[in-house]
């Protein structure tokens, strides 16, 4: 499967990956110029964390080999796609219990800010042919896709 590899030492915290993720998952048509950066509907699926020393630690869904989120999903909305190996999410099946949020040991998942009815989850930009927008947008090449 393909995974986004992170070299956190290279991260400058510019959040371009987050903006690219927002753009990739917005519901409206448009360009990065008119992406509403204040609209919670457009929230990012990746995050730039900081440790106590101020070092940036990019948090990207691992699409784990043995995904805790899938194991905890009581509706069948989260599943590991047998073809791509990616953990995908069928919003229509989700029961909004958020046990996946509870169980993701890395804290990647969150309920959507606007409605608290769905999970904000990386889909590896499946609609864009599994070419993650975040990776394309990283000016430091701190994230890249590898076959693992």
């Amino acid at each position: 499967m393909k995974r986004i590899i992170v070299e956190y030492e290279k991260c400058d915290g510019c959040k371009n990956c987050s903006a690219a993720c927002m753009q990739a998952h917005r519901k409206t048509q448009g360009t990065i110029y008119d992406l509403d950066l204040t609209d919670p509907e457009n929230e990012s699926r990746n995050f730039i964390l900081k440790d106590a020393k101020g070092q940036y630690k990019p948090l990207f869904c691992r699409h784990c080999d043995d995904p805790e989120c899938v194991k905890s999903c009581m509706s069948g909305a989260l599943y590991k796609d047998p073809e791509s190996g990616h953990v995908l999410y069928d919003e229509t099946r989700c029961g909004s219990c958020f046990m996946c949020v509870m169980n993701c040991p890395f804290g990647v998942l969150k309920p959507d800010t606007a409605t608290k009815t769905k999970v904000i989850k990386c889909d590896f930009c499946a609609d864009a042919g599994n070419e993650p927008s975040c990776v394309a947008s990283c000016p430091k090449k701190a994230i890249y896709v590898e076959e693992v």
């Binding site: 959040k15 371009n16 690219a20 990065i32 110029y33 950066l37 204040t38 929230e43 000016p139």
Partner: protein
């Protein structure tokens, strides 16, 4: 493997140039577009604030305000005002130097080449001096006096130069500028940390800066230059890399202040200097045009047939011009002199000389060209360039592109030369517009950039779309450099126009795109527009006239754009000016401005869609005029 630096150069509307650059063994800006293609979205939208140590603050759904509480609106418009103030400062610097040059020329009884323009200005300013030099000095003084006024004193010449209905509108909106330099100061203060937070208030300042920039930085700079440098005359001239003649010692000129080096320019054709060149093995000296100052020389080329080889290309052609190996020195006095030329100059042993310290390049020699010392400095510069020529010729390979560009681009168009061409009156043009043979007028102006589709791609595509719709295009700025190298200013380009415009062009023997020269000449376009409006007894926003700075590049362009908006004209931009993060800014610039000044910003990076929008506006304005 081959000798190319890399194969990832950006597109150019100028295909031979694109191929030439792709084949170069050195890096140019065209190579760097790819590696800079990841743009910070916060920067693009203008919502990154670095005005205090709490920052940088960026706007996201989780952080809709900066630490200080600044909203996206405040952050965006503050950044915009900074840019506009800075851009205005650049143009005001240019007009200040230009006026000083007129004054000094007059005081030293130098040559006044544009007596017609001098008289026109003197009449406008109410100056009645018998002596031509005293008249010129008084004109220059009147301009300088206004530039140096405090912010709270309105400049006197605004009313004399502005079209009356516009002046009244500006007065009504409180947009009349105080001293132009003080307005820049005021703008810079206003957008500093935790001062103004009112987006609309700051946008009005942008308009005010646009007015002082336009009337002084643009209109007056042109006219003052005409006084001492001569008036433009319509003619055909060669353009592109073909103009470089390796038999001469070639000096590429970059910047915006032609008047700064005319002394040097004249000296280069003196017999003793030509003799020096001959001794070094060259036929003499030549100036090769690049950027807006090259456009300026091209525009007045009728006066400089001996020294000026022609315009080789715009700002993003400068690296290619140097890479031909045929250039021995670069004399720069302002922007748009790219820092990227420095390593190329080093590699090809090209001497870099700056004559204005505001544009001092890192590895250039600064030779400040003040009026008193200019004879001595000129001799120093000539000797340095001769040394460079001797040191490099023979050891540096030539990589000329003689087939690039064309031999007969129409140039020398100004508000005066064009009117004279039409028989001393605008009536023939008005008749053509009324009859619909010319549907409307589009000013495609401003810069060249590499990101709106590539080098000049959007500009050239848009021009083609517009002329195909029978809209005549007037150009000014680096956009002209790209458009002319692509052949759109030759007579043959008439066949790319729509049938009506084509017929007009073929009858008059002109191209469908008329080049007014440097970006400063946006001021000349405004004079044309004003005179047309006067003839029709309407205000500017009613004319079937649109502006496009399709590939605007920098802060000066934003100040120009604000002038266009203050004039009440529709202004198309290919890329947004880092404002889309503010809903208020977008609303005011693209919608509310129509009510305010009559202007509006249109942002669209697609040539066809942009042309559709601009054509629609022209049709609506025609309807408004019942034509």
């Amino acid at each position: 493997m081959n000798q190319c630096y890399s194969c990832t150069t950006c597109k150019s509307a100028d295909k031979p140039l694109q191929e030439f650059i792709a084949g170069l063994p050195m890096e140019t800006s065209h190579h760097r577009v790819e590696s800079q293609s990841t743009k910070c979205a916060f920067g693009l939208q203008g919502v990154c604030c670095r005005l205090c140590s709490n920052g940088p603050c960026r706007i996201t759904p989780e952080s809709p305000r900066g630490i200080c509480g600044a909203s996206a609106d405040t952050i965006v418009v503050r950044n915009l005002l900074r840019a506009v103030a800075s851009g205005s400062g650049c143009y005001i610097h240019v007009v200040e130097n230009t006026a000083l040059n007129v004054k000094n020329t007059a005081k030293t009884k130098g040559q006044i080449k544009g007596i017609g323009t001098l008289n026109r200005l003197a009449a406008l300013f109410g100056i009645e001096e018998e002596d031509v030099h005293k008249r010129a000095e008084a004109v220059a003084d009147a301009v300088l006096k206004d530039l140096y006024l405090p912010e709270y004193e309105k400049m006197a010449l605004t009313e004399k130069l502005a079209y009356k209905p516009r002046y009244d509108k500006w007065k009504e909106l409180g947009l009349l500028p105080g001293g132009a330099k003080s307005e820049v100061f005021h703008g810079v203060v206003k957008c500093s940390t935790n001062l103004n937070s009112d987006p609309v208030n700051m946008l009005l300042d942008c308009l005010k800066l646009g007015i002082s920039t336009g009337i002084y930085g643009l209109v007056l700079t042109n006219l003052l230059n005409d006084v001492v440098l001569g008036e433009p005359e319509i003619r055909f001239a060669p353009v592109g890399l073909r103009v470089i003649d390796p038999d001469y010692i070639n000096i590429m000129i970059t910047g915006h202040q032609h008047s700064m080096f005319t002394f040097l320019q004249n000296r280069l054709t003196d017999q003793d200097v030509k003799e020096k060149a001959r001794k070094a093995g060259a036929k003499g000296f030549k100036l090769v045009g690049c950027t807006c100052v090259g456009q300026d020389l091209q525009l007045r080329g009728a006066h400089y047939t001996e020294i000026f080889d022609g315009h080789a290309g715009n700002n993003y052609t400068s690296e290619a011009i140097l890479a031909t190996g045929g250039i021995d020195a670069v004399i720069s006095e302002f922007n748009c002199t790219l820092p990227g030329i420095e390593p190329i100059c080093d590699e090809l042993k090209i001497k870099q000389i700056c004559i204005d310290n505001v544009a001092k390049k890192a590895n250039a020699q600064l030779k400040e060209f003040d009026f008193e010392n200019r004879p001595a400095v000129t001799e120093e510069i000539i000797d340095e360039i001769l040394e460079a020529y001797k040191a490099r010729r023979g050891s540096v390979p030539m990589n000329l592109l003689k087939e690039h560009g064309n031999d007969a681009t129409l140039t020398g168009v100004s508000e005066t030369s064009l009117k004279n061409f039409l028989g001393g009156t605008w009536q023939p043009l008005i008749d053509l517009i009324v009859s619909g043979d010319i549907k409307g007028v589009a000013g495609v102006v401003g810069c060249s950039n590499l990101t709106a589709g590539g080098h000049d791609v959007l500009t050239v595509d848009l021009v083609k779309e517009l002329i195909a719709r029978d809209i005549i295009v007037l150009t000014a700025g680096c956009s002209s450099g790209g458009i002319e190298n692509c052949g759109l200013m030759t007579k043959e380009a008439a066949k790319l126009a729509g049938p009506k415009l084509r017929a007009v062009c073929e009858k008059l023997g002109i191209p469908p795109v008329l080049n007014f020269g440097p970006c400063l000449a946006i001021g000349r376009l405004e004079i044309v527009a004003t005179e047309l409006a006067e003839a029709l007894h309407v205000d500017l926003p009613e004319l079937p006239l649109v502006l496009s700075a399709a590939q605007w590049l920098e802060e000066q362009a934003l100040a120009d754009g604000c002038y266009g908006l203050a004039l009440g004209l529709p202004l198309h931009l290919g890329l947004p000016p880092f404002v889309t993060g503010s809903k208020t800014a977008v609303q005011v610039l693209t919608q509310d401005m129509k009510e305010l000044t009559g202007g509006q910003v249109i942002i669209n990076s697609d040539a066809k869609a942009s042309a559709d929008i601009l054509e629609q506006i022209i049709l609506e304005k025609r309807q408004g005029l019942h034509i």
